[in-house]
Amino acid sequence: MFWYIIQRELFEQLSSLRFVLATLLIVFLMVVNAIGHIEEYKTQQTEYRRQVSASSERLQGNSNNLYTLVVRGPGGLNKHPSKLAFCAHGSENHLPTSVLGWSAGWGRDSNIEDSIYKISGLWRLMYNVSPPITARNIFPTFLKIDWTLIISIVLSFAALVFAFDAISGELGHGTLRLTLSNSIARGTLLAGKFLSILISLGVAFLTGVLINLLLLHLSGTLQLDGQEWSRVGGIFVVGLTYLSIFIVLGLFVSSRVNRSTTSLVILLLLWVIWVILIPATLGTILSGLNQPPTIRDYSAKHSAQHKEITERYEARGLYNKAPTRLRPPTPATLLWAKYLNEERQASNRLTKEHLNAQINQIQIAREFNRISPTAIAQYAIESLAGTGFQRHLDFLKKAERYADVFNDFLITADRADPDSPHVPFVREGMSDKPVPFDSIPKFQDRVRLGNAFKGAMLDVMLLVLFFVVLFAMAHVSFQRKEI
């Protein structure tokens, strides 16, 4: 019986005008997406490769002396562009593409015992602090054509258009009574209607997806490995879950109202507010309450701290004696090493604090935006596609871990030199021999499957929760409806 209902409903849906319109729209957008991505993918990859080779060249140039590496650092750490950017662009063009492992930006010539002692700060990680200027694109595309757009706007919209008259329409025609006069439970009917809409829209979506993948494959830009394919699968499933939410929302409203046009009007207004306006306003409004400190404040604080540390060490006699290569190390060498290390640590702490405040502002906005399933689906898809904010945070974490690895390597390389006094990180306390370029650990960035699924987990669970609650509401309201 259940199968019979689905069959009937499916047949009706597939032969309707709205199915044709929805499929055409999805396929058209998928084709546009593929065409755009082919171009973008090539520039992205070349740009990434160019940056990586530039960083590597710079590193090689600095490896002729261990201490040069201590001062200048590993250079730019580049973010690997995701191959699945066609699924979710994740505002990647507005996010920094690299973190700099660069010289500290301060150096001093101090007069110690009648000779000039040159010292410069140790290398550290530097983050982009101000947003890029984007005036070159005069008109902002506030939506970019990708799978996220197709899923979050077109599919959800189509779901409402498919579901709005599922119950109220049949009620109006009187066919609902007829159907229920057979031995069919109301729950079964509801489930049948839900599944038939899910299947018909799923078919439209799948058609678009297949055409999109086919175009990308033919152009040679789609070279995915197993784990990337499973991520694409994950995105498809997230899309279907999101779609289901809107179908049951449509069924719920349709069972509450007696006229189908009223049902669609209510649904449309709900849709505009829930899908378009809440993600665009709520987070922005509430994150305005939590402004990060300005760059001016940050740099003022930074230089005050630098001054404070330097003065503290000056009082302990920093400028009385220069460090030497003597073994065992003299107190002056140890003091200088301590000074340099503390200065870097404090500076890193402050930079991190500032970065965290900036991240925090965005996180708050994202938390509040999760009131809308559209934002949730977007975040889940971005996590799976390896783009967007969550991915950027992963990248930043990786860069930090790499900074530790690089510093550990510097210490190990210094240990290997028997002529060195082994006092990191002051010049006289460390080896001044060249370092074999191949032994330097390189920064390698990749999206991991585990991370991607872990990042999407919470969001997928939230989506399922939305679905369950709405389905229960639709079920109860249909059960209690008088027909």
Binding site: L29, T134, T141, L143, T281
Partner: protein, 485 residues
């Protein structure tokens, strides 16, 4: 008779659920967004005022002529609350140098006052974009059953049995519903304006109020366009359900799909990178030529130094604070060096600017013009373009600031030429007294604020929107007249 019909339309619409929703949704969204935007504007203005003060002091604390390199700031535009356009995305602080002509398209300037690099991840929405989405939807929701619904209920026949012309009926329906649609628009628009005026940071001039009036007028025409689209569909369709579904698909296409797809296409199919890179190479060659010419001259500040003493500075700026007596003889040589070098540096910047200007007009300007033309094909795009022109946040409005920085750069150079500053001692030395900047003209930027100017930019698009209205109305009228009821 007309009045009776209009009254009937207004009354039936006013008591509906959809009207209630329309008012609530419009007012609450517009007000909350205005609140945030006003706060944001206050913050930007404070940051601008602070920067202005700091920079003014710094700009005129230069001790020698060569040290004069002013930092110029662009004030935020209060009308960006309505349509933010480029206002937040273009550079708002420019360091003017002798060797580079500033332009909107350079990407190495700062955008001070926004201190979060992830800021672009938060959608920033303005009042126009809310109207753009919400009001168009409401207009269609009010229109879908206007004719199809009455036909279905049989009331259409009833009305037409009276001595009422069909044209009169359509016209009455149009006027009546438009009044109902304009009500939530007016309420939210006025409340938003009132809220903005509460802020001490916002002081609108008469010209500003006229431009805001222009935005309001455009919004009304925009709503009317969508209402007429809905009416036309309602007229053609036989069933309200069909009318509603068709309207909705057309709405999604006009409001979301068309603007985004066309901008996406324009971005992808107009090549910029290559041309800009080529221009950069050419500029580098020009700079190299200058360096070669500079190499032929004897740089007094290169080893072995011509002057003995103490000085500060970099390649383009020098401040000699002390000269030993036996070096005094060399001063004329140094003067002559700068007198030949600096005009050459300025010419080089000019030549490079010609190349850059050409490249920009072939890439970014062309792209923006193409995108503009593509946007003109939908009422949503037209609405965006018109309101941006009224608000002064379109390309011309923002570029005006860069034009005035270029003018100011020219003023400074003329001032230097007039004063024969390049050949003076104070160009590079302050030991015999620092430069007095009393008669140096100050930079002042007046945004394009007069209505005529904004109106002339908005005129074409507004006219197009009006024309679209007219065509839609005539089509509805003709089709309705020839239809069987």
């Amino acid at each position: 008779m007309l009045w009776t019909l209009i009254k009937h339309e207004i009354l039936t619409n006013l008591i509906t659920f959809r009207f209630f929703i329309a008012v609530i949704a419009c007012v609450s969204l517009v007000l909350s967004v205005t609140l945030v935007l006003t706060d944001n504007y206050e913050r930007r203005l404070a940051s601008y005022n602070e920067a202005l003060q700091v920079h003014h002091e710094k700009n005129f604390s230069a001790r020698t002529y060569s040290y004069f390199s002013p930092q110029l700031d662009r004030p935020p535009n209060p009308l960006s609350l309505f349509n933010q356009g480029l206002d937040k995305r273009a550079a708002n602080s420019i360091l003017l140098r002798r060797d580079k002509v500033p332009s909107l398209w350079d990407d190495n300037y700062r955008s001070a006052g926004f201190d979060n690099p992830f800021r672009h991840l938060l959608a920033s929405i303005d009042i126009v974009s809310i109207f753009q989405i919400l009001l168009s939807l409401l207009a269609l929701v009010f229109a879908y059953d206007a004719i199809a619904g009455e036909r279905e209920d049989g009331t259409l026949r009833l009305i037409l049995a009276n001595p009422v012309g069909r044209g009169l009926l359509v016209f009455a329906k149009y006027l009546g519903t438009m009044i109902c649609l304009i009500l939530p628009l007016l309420i939210s628009f006025l409340l938003a304006l009132l809220l903005q005026l509460q802020s001490p940071a916002i002081n609108y001039s008469t010209a500003d109020f006229l431009r805001i009036g222009g935005i309001l007028l455009t919004t009304i025409v925009y709503v009317s366009t969508f209402y007429l689209i809905g009416l036309l569909i309602s007229c053609i369709s036989h069933r309200t359900a069909t009318s509603l579904i068709t309207s909705m698909f057309i709405w999604v296409v006009l409001v979301f799909i068309h603007p985004n797809v066309s901008l996406f296409m324009v971005n992808h199919f107009i090549e910029t990178e290559e041309k800009i890179e080529q221009a950069n190479r050419e500029v580098a060659q020009i700079a190299e030529r200058f360096q070669r010419e500079k190499g032929k001259l004897r740089d007094p500040f290169e080893w072995p130094f011509l002057l003995k003493g103490q000085w500060w500075g970099s390649a383009t700026r020098k401040d000699v604070t002390h000269i030993e007596v036996d070096s005094e003889l060399e001063i004329p040589t140094v003067k002559a060096y700068y007198e030949t070098l600096e005009p050459k540096r300025i010419d080089t910047a000019d030549t490079a600017w010609q190349v850059r200007k050409q490249a920009y007009s072939e890439t970014f300007v062309r792209k923006s013009i193409t995108a503009r033309n593509a946007l003109r094909f939908s009422p949503t795009g037209l609405y965006y373009l018109t309101t941006a022109a009224f608000a002064g946040t379109d390309r011309t409005g923002i570029e005006n600031f860069f034009k005035s920085t270029r003018r100011y750069q020219q003023t400074i150079l003329n001032y230097f030429y007039d004063k024969k500053a390049f050949g003076s001692r104070q160009w590079f030395a302050s030991d015999k007294g620092t430069v007095r900047w009393d008669d140096m003209p100050r930079f002042s930027y007046e945004p394009l604020s007069d209505l005529q100017d904004a109106g002339s930019r908005a005129f074409g698009e507004l006219l197009q929107l009006f024309f679209l209205n007219l065509v839609l109305f005539i089509m509805t009228f003709v089709i309705f007249n020839r239809q069987e009821v």
